[in-house]
């Protein structure tokens, strides 16, 4: 059964409101939550599990958990994003625990990988940033992606998009300013 895209809810509906609506069985709210968070959950799962197939399953399990446990969300305890992050992290940790592979060798050298606390911090930052990117319009998201992750210089981005370099810079600044607005609490 394919679900229709959620068109009925205003974009400004907060995550917390969507969770509460989902708790009441509102599928449109659930679908909007999925639109907002599928990519952040997938990113978090990929980072933790390192395998696309397992990460995809973790996304499904996360949203199954969200649907099941939406009723336990208490808006007076905080906004929706941290609650969703906790649900996702638990689902992903559960999946990671199911791994049965045992490392063949114990490394002699101490690992230079980030420790658990750093990993958690990185995970949360990525979660918030990827979630915020979903709020940008198509043109803003495109220019940010090209500028930061394509390896192209801003001149090459301008050539690629067929727009003046000045427009690329203006659009990039506008996109970053919008992200700053969305990521408000990251600046506190």
């Amino acid at each position: 059964m394919a679900l229709s895209l959620p068109r009925m809810l205003p974009v400004s509906t907060t995550d917390g409101e969507l969770i509460q609506r989902a708790a009441g069985g509102d599928r449109s709210a659930f679908e909007l939550l999925y639109q907002r968070y599928a990519r952040p959950v997938f990113g978090l799962a990929l980072r933790r599990l390192g395998d696309r197939g397992r990460a995809e399953d973790a996304v499904q399990e996360t949203f199954a958990s969200i649907w099941r446990s939406a009723g336990t969300y208490k808006p007076d305890r905080g906004p929706g994003a941290p609650w969703l992050y906790a649900v996702a992290r638990n689902a992903i940790v559960d999946r990671a625990r199911n791994r049965t592979e045992i490392p063949a060798d114990i490394p002699d050298e101490p690992s230079h990988d980030a420790g658990p606390a750093e990993q958690a911090e990185q995970g949360w930052v990525s979660w918030r940033v990827h979630r915020a990117l979903e709020e940008l319009n198509e043109r803003e998201r495109e220019v940010v992606s090209l500028a930061y992750w394509s390896g192209l210089s801003q001149s090459e981005v301008a050539e690629f998009l067929g727009i003046p370099l000045g427009t690329v810079k203006t659009r990039t600044r506008a996109a970053l300013a919008r992200l700053a607005e969305i990521l408000g609490d990251e600046f506190e």
């Binding site: 394919a2 679900l3 990113g43 990929l46 696309r52 995809e56 649907w67 990827h130 810079k169 970053l176």
Partner: protein
């Protein structure tokens, strides 16, 4: 790439520059968002509100095709289950909490399909299942049979019971003690007396 390369500072107030610089650092720290595969393009499908949570989602891939099969199979299972439940040798009631649809694997008859109805785990940890398969050819030999398996990473790893088929549709009750969440699918294989190990897969999720 640096802040100066991407954003630049020309014409920005000190405050604006500080704000954009912070966002720049967060973007660099976060890295690119991953591409979603087509399997994740739509959310999982919540079931009717009255259903228990476990049946609320189709966790398997190929959701669209499976959903169509599931719908057809559900109707058949309902009708069949009613007849099954009201036959003379009336077995204990079977209340499905989760349904998994299967379709024919490569090489299997085109019309072959199946559905696994799973009931609530019993008090000692077994999952009762009502398995219904259709379109599979009857066994060529008396000692041939079909076997249901749970898969992990696409490989059949845990046997869930064997059965023979007769006629167009066959329903059998099986039970497994495994933690189902540790597996990623199901397959049915054909097994025969000449078979060493796993036989060919005829149904898969």
């Amino acid at each position: 790439m640096s802040f100066d390369d991407i954003v630049g500072t020309e014409g920005l107030s000190r405050e604006e520059e500080a704000t954009l610089r912070r966002v720049h650092e967060l973007l660099v720290a976060a890295g690119p968002p991953p591409d979603l595969s087509p399997d994740l393009s739509l959310p999982p499908v919540p079931a009717e509100e009255s259903d228990p949570p476990e049946v609320a989602f189709l966790l398997r891939r190929r959701r669209g095709r499976v959903a169509v099969l599931a719908l057809a199979a559900a109707l058949a299972a309902f009708v069949g289950g009613y007849a099954f439940g009201h036959s003379k040798g009336k077995p204990a009631a079977f209340t499905s909490i989760r349904m998994v649809a299967m379709h024919g694997a490569a090489g299997a008859p085109a019309e072959s399909h199946g559905v696994i109805n799973i009931a609530e785990k019993d008090s000692v940890g077994n999952w009762p299942m009502l398995v219904e398969v259709s379109g599979l050819p009857e066994q060529a030999k008396q000692s041939s049979y079909y076997e249901l398996w749970l898969t992990h990473n696409g490989k059949a790893v845990a046997p869930c019971g064997s059965f023979r088929v007769h006629g167009k549709t066959t329903r059998v009750r099986l039970s497994v003690p495994y933690a189902l969440k540790n597996f990623d699918g199901w397959v049915v294989t054909t097994q025969g007396p000449d078979q060493n190990g796993l036989g060919p897969v005829v149904l898969t999720t």
